[in-house]
Amino acid sequence: MAKIVVDVMLKPEIRDPQGEAIAGACHRLGFAEVRAVRQGKRFEVEVADADVADADALAIRMTELSAELLANPVIEEFTIHGA
């Protein structure tokens, strides 16, 4: 069983009010060293070994999956690990 991790973050130019609010909370809590926070999503995808020919094929499939479903290409970008 392969575990693939897909990290999805808002594109840098897209505003992240959620991250801004968290950064504000960090400061109120005394974590003054925090300059900025951006919040994204992390997907852990389990793939059956038997179902994928090789690492390259897996990487291609996971890229497809991320672009189609896990990330919203209009506002997000993704990176894949472990494939």
Partner: protein
């Protein structure tokens, strides 16, 4: 002197007006408490109302837990001050570890606004003394993160010690463990409830008056004390 019930307004609190109205309907004096102020203005009990405190960014209630007013509320609640957390207030009480467990995304993944029937399981807390155990009432559920979760041991303990306050009685609307709609601390003073009794105090604007009992209960609980 009338009973004074504090209603905390966090940035993003929404049902604070409704909670105040319910407190007044029950015959107590609502006292506004501001998130950024220290001190509890000598209130006899506190309601943490529904809404989206601090936008509920991160996790519901996670940021509100650290508000200045909470620095006084948490020790007071530990010492026996009655506190009712409704919806977001329940989430805040869990985040503050005044109540066990946590509230997570609904099993159906969408926000649910619906009238629900709940069964009062414990009629002895400061906030439910006016209800008989087993009494079913209609209130309003409106939340996106209302699924109560806790580990098996905690759940078993809650059941064994009668700390399950109320359960959903007309289907489980959000996937909460064991249909739990609300829980209480061991003393029966700190209570969290996911649906909104304050929206069920007037047949004109809600599904009836079943929810008034929560606010009437605290009055009699304090009068008896």
């Amino acid at each position: 002197m009338t009973t004074r019930v504090g209603i905390v307004t966090f940035p993003g609190s929404l049902d604070d007006v409704d909670a105040s109205r319910a407190v007044a309907r029950a015959g107590a004096t609502p006292v506004p408490l501001w998130h950024g102020d220290r001190g509890l203005r000598g209130v006899d009990a506190v309601v943490l109302p529904g809404g989206f405190s601090y936008g509920d960014y991160l996790r519901c209630g996670a940021i509100a837990r650290f508000a200045p007013v909470m620095a006084d509320l948490i020790p007071a609640a530990t010492d026996g001050l009655p506190v009712l957390g409704i919806c977001n207030g329940f989430q805040i009480l869990c985040e503050a570890h005044l109540l066990p467990g946590a509230l997570t995304r609904n099993a159906g993944r969408r926000f649910v606004n619906r009238e629900v029937r709940i069964r009062i399981e414990n009629g002895q807390t400061s906030w439910t003394a006016g209800y008989q155990p087993g009494h079913e009432i209609t209130v309003v559920l409106k939340s996106g993160e209302g699924r109560y979760v806790a580990d098996q041991r905690t759940l078993d303990e809650l059941e064994a010690s009668g700390r399950v306050l109320a359960r959903y009685a007309s289907g489980n609307p959000n996937g909460s463990a064991r249909d739990i709609a609300g829980v209480t601390n061991p003393a029966g003073t700190v209570v969290g409830l996911m649906p909104h009794p304050e929206h069920a105090i007037d047949a004109l604007t809600g599904p009836g008056t079943d929810g008034l009992g929560f606010f009437a209960s605290i009055l009699s609980a304090l009068a008896d004390a």
